[in-house]
């Protein structure tokens, strides 16, 4: 067992968990981190710094609805003939921690239930004849590898702290880790350290109600949230709480600037949808912890806050922007990696191109719940059928005896039959890949947009999802991640940049990654809709390394071919819509279609409706 204090590196994650240990009302901590960085070890070690016997429940990714929420306990019900309730995982975590590893892979219905439980602080069990309320107030700790996909934003919104993405440990840290894992570290030391830390946390919890925060400080935090474009108002409460918890950890009774910075760093920045302009030199800011040196902004705070809102508002306009700016800049530049935006929710659509993605494909079409239905209309869910039949056995036997029917071991009627419902009778994910390079790009993009819109209009009926990848310049970019939402498409596709090179391979690669991620979330069918002339001129190499030399034509072709064949072998359907004017066509697009095992359409003046038709005809 590796203790909390043994974990090397991941300082921000540790600080985040400590804040949560101090104030559980922060709701939880989400830790995105690369594979093998020790994030799950850290999360499990979180129990070390909590009061003894705090529940710590780990949620398996393949949890079914009845295990999550609770339901009838079959064994006990059969034995007693009375419905016996089995508490779900959510209520088992009450008063403690619910830990989800790879939280981004959790399926959406489970996520919805967790969200619901968090917002109520309890679980409503309205199932299988049960109507109960189980308390379920827990801290949610989630870890995930960002290359596996994103965590649903609705869920993140209910979790107070999101740890900024952390880089790999350096070699010293690595060495220390190996030592700990091999057990060459003194256990007594470990115990002492742990005890000390637990004592700290305990003291901080006691300090918590005595910490005060000024109106001016609250206002500054809110102003920061607005400048960063953070959605929603719930976040304000988390920011304020985080600042207070941070002050409590330092055994102070007043919130100070460093607490606010901590709160901004752990609560607001990861949710930012826009970043204030960074000055050039801020990149060189020392990445280490540094005590805040400036103390002038405090003087404003000391003024007795006047109670007339008007005066306050005026004052705020006059005085605070500078202070906030500074506060924000400090928080941003302080020990945050340069790629901080990689974890910011807003930039999530720039899906990371990682190398892992094959995880959990077996989850496809997973059984989530049973529902009443015709025996022939689906697979019979045996256990739920038995559950609903179990309590009736006695009465039915009596009835059947009276009716003079022969004796049977088990009486199951039509009413009992439950059929399995699998995760989403998911429709198809259409991934549009639009060549946004060159002169015709604008028209292509416009038509693709129209096609996306038109598909989404009917998305609900078909359970389809649509994504859009545009490729231009050095690399492809996911402009619209898989979505069913017309609103979202409208927002994300508002501005479509065009022009530049044609990184076809990059598009195929990114599309493939998107397809793989979608599969872990229950999508079974993926179709690529490529709108291009089929001529790539930027290699995959350039995507990862901007300084790479320009690939030769042969290399480019080979690359596209290899990718296409793999994609075809992976069972992704594809159509290629050729938009090139005839006299220019050199037959690249038909070739591409062939390699992808897809169909080729020649639509030089492609209209949105034609594209949709082509996609649906497949």
């Amino acid at each position: 067992m590796i203790a909390f204090t043994d974990i090397v590196g991941m300082d921000l994650a540790k600080q985040a968990l400590m804040l949560l240990a101090v104030d559980s009302e922060l709701g939880g901590v989400v830790i995105p981190s690369a594979v093998g960085s020790g994030k799950s070890t850290l999360a499990r070690a979180f129990a070390d710094i909590l009061p003894p016997s705090t529940p710590f429940v780990e949620l398996p990714l393949n949890v079914t609805e009845d295990r999550l929420i609770g339901g009838v306990d079959l064994e006990a019900t059969l034995a007693t003939g009375v419905r016996v309730v089995q508490h779900g995982v959510l209520s088992k975590a009450h008063g403690g921690v619910l830990y989800v590893d790879s939280i981004s892979l959790l399926d959406s219905s489970a996520v919805s239930h967790i969200m619901d439980a968090i917002s109520r602080g309890e679980v409503l069990v309205e199932r299988e004849g049960l109507s109960e309320v189980h308390p379920a107030k827990f801290m949610l700790v989630g870890t995930y590898d960002p290359t596996d996909g994103e965590v649903r934003m609705g869920l993140l919104d209910r979790i107070g702290i999101i740890v900024p993405f952390t880089a790999q440990n350096d070699y010293r840290a690595r060495k220390k880790i190996v030592n700990i894992v091999l057990g060459t570290r003194d256990e007594e030391d470990t115990r002492d350290e742990l005890n000390m830390l637990a004592g700290f946390i305990k003291a901080a919890r006691e300090q918590l109600p005595h910490v005060s925060i000024t109106d001016e400080q609250i206002r500054a935090l809110i102003q920061t949230a607005i400048s960063l474009g953070v959605e929603g108002n719930r976040v304000d409460i988390f920011t304020v709480r985080a600042a207070i918890a941070s002050a409590a950890l330092a055994q102070r009774s007043d919130v100070e600037e460093e607490d606010m910075k901590q709160a901004i760093k752990l609560v607001l920045i990861p949710r930012a949808t826009r970043m204030p302009e960074r000055e050039a030199e801020s990149n060189e800011a020392p990445p280490q912890e540094e005590p805040p040196q400036q103390d002038e902004p405090e003087s404003e705070d000391e003024e007795a806050p006047s109670d007339t809102p008007d005066a306050e508002a005026e004052e705020e306009q006059k005085e605070t922007p500078d202070m906030i700016e500074e506060l924000m800049m400090d928080a941003i530049t302080m020990e945050l990696p340069d790629n901080i935006l990689n974890i910011s929710l807003a930039s999530k659509k720039k899906t990371t191109t990682g190398s892992r993605g094959e995880a959990l494909n077996f989850k496809r079409g997973r059984f989530v719940r049973a529902q009443p239905g015709e025996m022939r209309s689906g697979k019979v869910a045996l256990i739920p059928t038995l559950i609903s039949a179990a309590p009736w056995q006695e009465t039915r036997r009596r009835d059947s005896k009276m009716a003079g029917r022969p004796k049977t071991a088990l009486l199951i009627t039509k009413d009992d039959v439950k059929i399995k419902r699998f995760r989403d009778k998911s429709g198809t994910l259409f991934i549009f890949m639009v060549d946004a390079s060159g002169s015709m790009a604008l028209n292509r993009m416009r038509q693709a947009k129209g096609a996306v819109a038109s598909l989404l209009q009917n998305a609900y009926v078909h359970r389809d999802q649509v994504a859009l990848i545009s490729f231009r310049g050095k690399q492809a970019q996911v402009l619209l991640p898989p979505s069913q939402s017309v609103d979202r498409a409208k927002r994300e596709l508002d501005v479509l940049p065009t022009g530049g090179g044609t990184p076809l391979a990059s598009a195929l690669y990114l599309g493939w990654e998107t397809a793989k991620q979608a599969r872990t979330k229950g999508i079974t069918q993926v179709m690529f809709v490529l709108i291009t002339d089929g001529r790539g001129n930027i290699g995959l190499q350039a995507t990862f390394d901007p300084t790479a030399e320009k690939a030769s034509k042969e290399d480019l072709e080979k690359e596209v071919e290899a990718l296409s064949l793999s994609i075809q072998a992976d069972g992704v359907a594809a159509i290629v819509i050729d938009t090139q004017m005839n006299y220019l066509s050199r037959g690249e697009a038909p070739k591409l279609a062939q390699k992808l095992g897809g169909r080729y359409f020649y639509l030089p003046n492609a209209k949105a409706e034609q594209i949709v038709e082509a996609a649906m005809s497949f």
Partner: protein
């Protein structure tokens, strides 16, 4: 939070429930048979933030209130940004609802007439003397439908315990029964399971819930105001369900710093001592409750000039809205709005204020349309109003 704090929080709202039941109920505590109390106790088990203490989000608040005044408006769909107090507001609603009269202990919340009609329809029942029935006043029920609910709990099923112990096959009413004459609230309504949506559409259209199981057949009234909330980016709402909602309130992140400071401060105050906080808002809560009741009483006296109706029809026509639900909803909502303002004549002023709420979700959705639905409605409204003034 420590265990004791949790415990304190859990008990705190319950206390207020008891106090309220005493104040509100004519029959006092004696009239609380276990069964009748069950839904009420459940409803209040979470911490309900007072409705009147909620800052901003006037559009949503108004929509909810208008639906209390006239339930025929057909419910509210609240869609918008995360973390803007959607569910908090709906759950707070329970505290400002007026009282309704029902047959004492009736799980379907029926009035005497409905009760007699329903019971006499059952086979082999003799006529019931209305004088033999006692009534009680209960707050309008607000029933929460969780996403994970199964069909049998939503529609009701056979009470197994009773069947086993006494051999009687009795119907155990579900959430739809509890919600009769009240509100049915679905948070994250756009994520609701398909087959539950089917059930809801069915019941909402007929006002009746029919259950056939274990050889018995039950039908009971299930008329409720459907309230749904969600974030449009999480998924789309089924078009048929969307159409069921009378009003569509939109909710966005508040950007006013002073308001947000206020929100944070109130929330902190509430978290620290919910009881004291409730007490602080008690008067305002009662005032609002009274205002709603007054409006409800005033509603039958409200009238509208034919010319206003013409304008409403013109507006809907110009916006290309299919069917007549648009006009109907606007008319009813305008009536309720006038009543809420204590006025007895509906004018275009009232219409103007609620037209967006009524029509927003009935316009055809086009992702390429740059004009916001609300702006489009406003523009057409201005045209119609311009015409009206010119004539």
């Amino acid at each position: 939070m420590t265990q004791t704090e949790t415990a304190a929080k859990k008990t705190a709202p319950k206390k207020t429930v008891v106090a309220k039941a005493k104040a509100g109920s004519d029959v006092t505590t004696a009239s609380e048979p276990i069964k009748a109390v069950k839904p009420a106790a459940k409803k209040k088990s979470g911490q309900a933030f007072p409705f009147t203490a909620i800052v901003g989000q006037e559009e949503m608040k108004l929509s909810l209130i208008l639906n209390i005044i006239d339930p025929r408006i057909g419910g509210v769909l609240v869609m918008g940004h995360r973390g803007t107090g959607k569910s908090t507001t709906v759950r707070a609603l329970a505290e400002v609802l007026p009282l309704i009269e029902r047959v004492e202990g009736d799980t379907y919340n029926r009035t005497i007439d409905q009760y007699i009609e329903g019971e006499e329809a059952k086979k082999g029942r003799k006529a019931i003397d209305s004088a033999s029935l006692r009534t009680e006043k209960i707050p309008v029920p607000v029933v929460d439908l969780p996403l994970g609910a199964t069909e049998d709990r939503v529609c009701g099923t056979i009470d197994i315990e009773q069947a086993l112990t006494s051999g009687v096959k009795a119907f155990e009413p579900g959430l739809l029964a509890q919600a009769n004459r009240g509100f049915l609230y679905i948070d994250e309504v756009n994520l609701l399971d398909d087959h539950l949506v089917d059930v809801l559409l069915d019941v909402a259209a007929s006002g009746l819930n029919v259950v056939e199981r274990e050889g018995i057949s039950i039908r009971h009234p299930a008329r409720f105001v459907l309230v749904g909330s969600g974030n449009p980016e999480e998924g789309e709402l089924r078009p048929q369900l969307l159409d069921r909602f009378g009003l569509h309130a939109r909710i966005i992140t508040i950007l006013d710093v002073a308001k947000r400071v206020d929100i944070v401060k109130r929330r902190r105050e509430f978290d620290e001592d919910p009881d004291a906080f409730m007490k602080k808002y008690n008067r305002e809560q009662q005032k609002l409750q009274k205002k709603i009741q007054t409006a409800k009483d005033l509603l039958p006296a409200v009238t509208m000039d034919d010319s206003v109706l013409t304008d409403i029809a013109k507006l809907c026509m110009n916006l290309g809205i299919d069917g007549h639900r648009g006009e109907l909803t606007i008319t009813r909502t305008a009536f309720a709005h006038a009543a809420f303002l204590g006025e007895t004549v509906v004018t275009m002023k009232h219409v103007k204020e609620i037209a967006g709420l009524c029509l927003r979700h009935r316009l055809r959705k086009d992702p390429l349309e740059t004009l916001d639905a609300g702006e489009k409605i406003d523009r057409e409204l201005a045209k119609v109003l311009g015409e009206a003034e010119a004539v």
